[in-house]
């Protein structure tokens, strides 16, 4: 019997207690993994290489205000700018106003959209068909799958922000690296349907010739339009997405406090279990010491037990988190912000390490006390 197998056997000695502790720890660390994954998705990921080269240019005051389409060519002529496309959020209703049936709709320029969003793939013949049909639209593959749309289907969108409805024909299905759940149609449909919007667009998507050029381009664009009656605010695509998240409220604080509560709860559970387990084996510890095991070894044995249990719990929890994240990413509403998010190996490793650390910390005091107890007192102890 090696020390490792001794630890292993003792960790699962009382199967019921070990199982319950494992389950409790794994649920807590599942939550921790979910929180860490969300944090990473919002604040740490740099986005794809293509995304890093894009900017969003919107009205300085609010996304709800429009910009003149004339800005497009002026932006295009600026140094470092490769492509520009105009986009207008339509925000209409498909079928009904239930959140499950909500998806983004943008009016845009079919000739420019895929030039800017280079990570979107679409068969060239479908793209051509869309460019030729003023009432055509293209949708993301996952959205098409969700509603079972095929090329040639009619899609009817009721207008809520704008006083017109859209009667579109599906001309193309594109694939995007992240599930964008979006429908793009030709902006001229809006212009012709409601004269008051003619010449006005929601915002611009800009492709820079390199990620490094993005900050300077943003400054240049804002400086150009600063003193007009429709000033702009330009920022990288990533910063724009972060602004959206920040609107939800103090998200960072919320996530951090949940993480803290979870780690603390795990600590309590693990400490409770180890205390119970160690108290039961007082006589055993004394026996071990008479056999010649040192105090240090005894301490190490107990702490290893706790670390093993908690680390395994961490692994189970992290794996379970994959399922939960999948569920959240496909939830109506909030799922849009977490599209394509998955816990990565790094996050799982962190969960296991946190589990191990918590196990070690929680077992230290009872294990230390047990290792120091007088042998004779220990042998005399009646469980």
């Amino acid at each position: 019997m090696t020390l490792m197998s001794f630890v292993r056997k003792n960790a699962f000695r009382n199967k019921r207690r070990s199982l319950l502790t494992l389950l409790s720890v794994s649920f807590s660390l599942l939550l921790l993994t979910v929180m860490m994954t969300i944090w990473r998705a919002f604040y740490l990921s740099d986005g794809s290489a293509e995304s890093a080269q894009r900017l969003i240019v919107r009205h300085k005051v609010s996304l709800g205000q429009f910009l003149p389409i004339a800005y497009r060519e002026r932006i295009r002529s600026m140094p470092g700018v490769k492509q520009v496309v105009n986009e207008s959020w339509f925000g209409g209703q498909y079928k009904d106003d239930k959140p499950e049936n909500f998806f983004a709709q943008f009016g845009t320029d079919p000739k420019e959209l895929f030039q800017v969003y280079t990570d979107f793939q679409i068969p060239p013949d479908q793209l051509e068909a869309w460019q030729k049909d003023r009432a055509g639209c293209v949708v993301d593959a996952e959205l098409a799958k969700k509603y079972g749309w095929k090329i040639g289907d009619r899609i009817f969108i009721k207008g809520t922000i704008f006083p017109l409805d859209l009667d579109l024909t599906l001309r193309g299905i594109y694939t995007a690296p992240l599930n964008t759940q979006t429908l793009y149609f030709n902006n001229t449909y809006l212009d012709e349907g409601w004269s008051r919007i003619k010449g006005l667009v929601g915002f611009f998507g800009v492709l820079a010739d390199s990620p490094g050029a993005v900050p300077q381009i943003a400054k240049d664009i804002d400086a150009t339009f600063r003193n007009t009656d429709r000033p702009t605010k330009s920022e990288s695509e990533k910063a724009f997405n972060l602004d959206f998240i920040a609107m939800m409220g103090n998200v960072k604080a919320f996530i951090l406090s949940i993480c803290l509560a979870v780690v603390f709860a795990t600590l309590l559970v693990s400490a409770n279990t180890m205390a119970m387990s160690i108290r039961e084996r007082t006589r055993e510890v004394a026996l071990l010491k008479t056999l010649g095991f040192t105090r240090g070894t005894v301490l190490g044995l107990f702490m290893s037990e706790a670390v093993t249990l908690a680390a395994v719990g961490g692994l189970l929890g992290a794996v379970g988190a994959v399922g939960i994240i999948f569920m959240v990413a496909h939830a109506p509403g909030i799922g849009l912000m977490l599209a394509g998010v998955k816990p990565n190996v790094g996050t799982i490793v962190v969960a296991v390490v946190v589990g191990a650390a918590v196990g070690a910390l929680s077992s230290f005091v009872p294990a230390y006390n047990a290792s120091r107890r007088n042998i004779v007192d220990g042998l005399r102890h009646i469980g």
Binding site: T21, F162, P163, W194, D243, A261, I334
Partner: protein, 387 residues
């Protein structure tokens, strides 16, 4: 005969550390659940209580929010003033208010970033139609001037919102001249200014919305139908109370994530409680056998242990409630997807929230305690005595 409660209480105090740790674990779960519920209760209170049942809100046909493109034609307002059932003020003027909305971006004071804030442009008539709104400092804006009044919450949560500050809105600076208190209604997230001054800045042919005050609830309903059915006007009329009630959907991301977090934590806590109770049963194995020998029946042993588990969780709930009390009344904001701007609300630990938390804890105690209690009740007496 039931096992005396004293037995359970004494046993909980006997193994203080185990009791304390389990109770604390439950307390954390309960505290999280209270936090989520208080957030949602606060959001609901901000919107459900909003709007006056005598007011009818008129929007462009097909619009569901005031902030939609296009709006109510200005020519429609005189028509609406002559509709039957419209209330009049002391001077005989019809209580009909054409209003415009604009959204501005302001940085939050707590450094969490910028967000959209709604600026509502109206007339003094419009102010009169909202009797729950009262001026708490300074004065109302003067018609014809670039002046604004901010709500108390906006004043405390955002920079540039003190009396004397000026904010850039639209085409120029507007001066803050007053602070108003809305008593927690949805207007608590707004800034108010003069609609005619905005019109001369922007040359808008429409109003974003028109508010009509009816003389009584029956007239309000009749007015709403009249506006909806009128073919010439092409408008969407609804009771103001209904409009605001719909906006509680701002809480849905919080509700979803919050429920998920609370459920996961609860399951974890159940297992922890189960663990503690199993250990208690094992520790008191001989005691239980003795109780059985004396004459206590199996069901009474079962009930006693379940009760002990529930007692433990109630203790946890009490600690959790205490932990959350300092947060009661804390104001915060989130994004309202209908108006696309900040919805201000405060955490509200209502009696329902507290009771729900206690029930939640009791449930955890029940689920966690039933298996060990069953185990305790089923053990053979002789086996347990020999343990």
């Amino acid at each position: 005969m039931a096992v005396p409660i004293q037995y359970n209480i004494r046993n909980l105090t006997l193994r203080k550390s185990a009791t304390a740790m389990t109770a604390l674990g439950i307390a954390l779960t309960v505290a999280t659940a209270i936090f989520i519920m208080a957030l949602l209760a606060g959001l609901n209170a901000a919107f459900k209580g909003s709007g006056d049942p005598l007011n009818v809100l008129v929007l462009r046909k097909g619009a569901t929010a005031e902030l939609s493109a296009g709006g109510v034609d200005r020519d429609a307002v005189p028509v609406m003033k002559e509709l039957p059932g419209v209330a009049r003020d002391a001077q005989g003027q019809a209580l009909v208010s054409g209003e415009d909305l604009l959204v501005v971006v302001l940085p939050r004071n707590d450094g969490t970033g910028e967000t959209n804030v709604t600026v509502r442009f109206l007339t003094p008539t419009g102010i009169a139609m909202r009797p729950e709104v009262k001026l708490s400092a300074g004065r109302w804006f003067t018609p014809g001037q670039h002046e604004i009044a901010v709500s108390k919450s906006i004043h405390s949560r955002f920079a540039q919102a003190n009396i004397g500050d000026s904010m850039w809105i639209g085409k120029g600076p507007w001066n803050v001249v007053g602070i108003f208190d809305t008593g927690g209604s949805a207007h608590d997230s707004e800034i108010w200014g003069d609609v005619n001054q905005l019109s001369s800045d922007f040359d808008r042919p429409t109003f974003n919305s028109v508010l009509i005050r009816a003389t009584d609830p029956v007239s309000a309903d009749a007015l709403k139908n009249r506006v909806n059915d009128d073919q010439r006007l092409k408008l969407n009329g609804m009771l103001e109370t209904d409009y605001w009630a719909k906006q509680t959907s701002s809480g849905s991301p919080i509700k979803f994530v919050g429920t998920l977090v609370a459920v996961i934590m609860a399951i974890g806590s159940c297992f922890a409680a189960m663990n503690t109770m199993y250990a208690a049963v094992a520790y008191r194995s001989r005691e239980i056998a003795t109780l059985r020998v004396i004459g206590f029946s199996r069901p009474s042993i079962l009930t006693s242990f379940v009760f002990e588990s529930v007692l433990l969780s109630i203790l946890g709930a009490a600690v959790g409630i205490l932990l959350m009390l300092p947060f009661n009344g804390m104001t915060t904001g989130t994004n309202n997807p209908v108006t696309f701007s900040e919805a201000v609300f405060s955490l509200r630990m209502t009696p329902i929230v507290v009771i729900s938390a206690v029930v939640f804890a009791i449930l955890m105690g029940l689920v966690g305690g039933i298996a060990p209690a069953w185990h305790a009740a089923r053990r053979e007496i002789l086996v347990s005595l020999r343990d």
